[in-house]
């Protein structure tokens, strides 16, 4: 269970303070998938940083499983927008790093890494270095790393942004399948409304900076969902239209 209570975050950038997040109240039920959507630079990443315990809120608090988050929250896996693979380790060593830190035997973690890399379509790249991979491949490697160590909660910051359409669908399917097995809580930041609705139990729309919640929409589409075809159902369209009406205003205001 993740609870955000009256969360504010202000950054001191040069002379004037920038208010990134303003009075966010949100409860994420365990085992649910929640998407955060909103204009770029609206403070979504800031929110994830605070949940991970990497930023301290200016006021308000983050409660994780009943306890306030005051330092790095090791119950979450965080896939940031920037891929954070270690350049000096091979793809396999990167993916297996969490298991290595936990003291797992080499043979075992290599086998597990090879398997998960196969599932994200990176078989044969085990001994390459991140610099030899394309942007999309690096994203998939970072995703594989998280899927392998299975933290209780996934924080995903635009994890599929750099992927082409087919690959995106494959990754959606993989994510939902693993989620069904393990039942993690997933908090997903995205710009892609279709992606948000396809995957989530709830879609939360944020305003442009300073960020507030303007709509918290439940997605009551039945599961398991067909990640390709669910978007053609009428209920999907209703939800999409409702979200888009709100989101469009934010995007338009941003452009002015």
């Amino acid at each position: 269970m993740i609870e955000l209570r009256g969360l504010h975050k202000t950054f001191d950038r040069g002379s004037e303070p920038v208010e990134a997040v303003q009075d966010i109240n949100l409860v994420v039920a365990p085992g649910s998938i929640v998407s955060l959507i909103g204009p770029s630079g609206c403070g979504k990443s800031t929110l994830l940083h605070m949940i991970a315990g990497l930023y301290e809120p200016s006021s308000g608090e983050v409660i994780y499983n009943g306890r306030p988050v005051v330092s790095v929250n090791t119950s979450v896996g965080y896939m940031t927008q920037k891929d954070t693979l270690l350049p000096w380790q091979t793809v396999r060593d990167n993916v297996a790093l969490p298991s290595r830190l936990a003291g797992q035997a080499k043979a075992e973690r290599h086998r597990a890494a090879a398997e998960i890399l196969g599932r994200v379509g990176l078989d044969g790249f085990e001994t390459r270095y991140p610099s030899e991979l394309s942007g999309g491949m690096r994203k998939r490697a970072a995703l594989a790393r998280m899927l392998l160590y299975r933290p209780e909660t996934f924080l995903l910051d635009e994890p599929f942004g750099a992927l082409d359409a087919q690959l995106k669908l494959a990754m959606h399917e993989l994510l939902l399948r693993l989620w069904k097995e393990d039942g993690q809580t997933i908090l997903l930041v995205t710009h892609d409304l279709v992606e948000a609705i396809t995957l989530s139990d709830r879609v939360v729309v944020l305003t442009r900076r300073p960020s507030r919640i303007i709509l918290d929409q439940e997605v009551d589409l039945p599961r398991p969902r067909d990640v390709l075809n669910v978007r053609f159902t009428s209920r999907f369209k209703q939800i999409y239209d409702k979200l888009w009406d709100v989101l469009r205003v934010e995007y338009e205001e941003e452009r002015l």
Binding site: N73, T80, P87, Q89, L97
Partner: protein, 274 residues
């Protein structure tokens, strides 16, 4: 050959002379040997004609002298002493520099506290410490090793410190979220990330370690290449001075080469990235 897009015809092939800078490695080596011989020839011809042999000696005499020293074995104890001092100073200075650099790079309070003192020391020309070190450590090898150590320490320390400070915070955060302990963050992120800085520091400090050893020997010693240069100079033996300089130069090249080999092994991940 390029194809003209509009007409679909082949553009006339332009025959270009290959640029001189692109010549093959072997040819370049031949040219470099040529330059070397030319310099030696000029030196040989100038000696005794344009400038007195007393001041600039000549390559043939220098060569003869080097040959004599090699045959008699005269040069080797001196070469060994200087090599030993350089390597010992380099190793000691690097070890202390890397360890302290990593520690202060990570410990923010200590680095803020000690920063002005370290900077003051950094700005001080370390060579000026030589007389003091001779006083403390005597005329033997220790004082030269100490001087080389001090010089190497500061170079390596500052590079390591900067390297550790440059580590991408996002990478550290990611690994901390994976439940990494402090020493694991250090081992898997901080040190590998700072490695190219550390190696840059090690590389530039090799010639400085040699400078430390030689300067120490120039000031007060009874062995070593620096001592030899000093003695030959005092005896007005220009040929001897040049011969020792050649030996010092060769030693410097050999030491640099060793570091390069070590670095290539270390940074395979960087070399494969284009």
């Amino acid at each position: 050959m390029s194809i003209n897009a509009a007409t679909g015809q082949q553009a006339p092939a332009v025959s270009r002379k290959p640029a001189l800078a692109d010549m093959s490695k072997g040819r370049m080596l031949v040219c470099q040997a040529g330059v070397f011989i030319l310099i030696l020839a000029c030196w040989q011809l100038a000696s005794g004609r344009l400038v007195s042999n007393f001041f600039i000696s000549n390559p043939v005499d220098v060569g003869k002298r080097l040959w004599e020293w090699t045959i008699s074995g005269f040069i080797f104890p001196h070469l060994w002493v200087t090599f030993y001092e350089t390597v010992a100073g380099f190793v000691l200075g690097s070890l202390i520099g890397v360890m302290l650099g990593i520690w202060l790079g990570v410990a923010r309070f200590m680095s803020r506290l000690l920063n002005p003192f370290l900077f003051a020391f950094y700005a001080l020309p370390k060579i000026a410490l030589a007389p003091l070190l001779v006083l403390w450590f005597g005329l033997g090898l220790q004082s030269k090793i100490a001087l080389a150590t001090v010089i190497v320490f500061f170079l390596v320390f500052y590079n390591t410190f900067t390297g550790v400070r440059e580590v991408d915070q996002d990478m550290i955060d990611t690994v901390r979220l994976m439940k990494a302990r402090r020493h694991q963050v250090l081992l898997h992120v901080v040190i590998p990330s700072a490695m190219s800085w550390i190696f840059a520091g090690l590389k530039i400090s090799v010639p400085y370690a040699l400078i430390g050893a030689i300067v120490g020997e120039l000031i007060a010693a009874n062995r070593g290449l620096g001592f030899l240069v000093q003695r030959m100079g005092a005896d007005f033996d220009t040929t001897g001075v040049f011969a020792v300089l050649v030996v010092i130069g060769l030693l410097a090249i050999a030491l640099n080469h060793l570091v390069e080999i070590a670095q290539v092994r270390q940074e395979r991940w960087k070399i494969v990235s284009h």
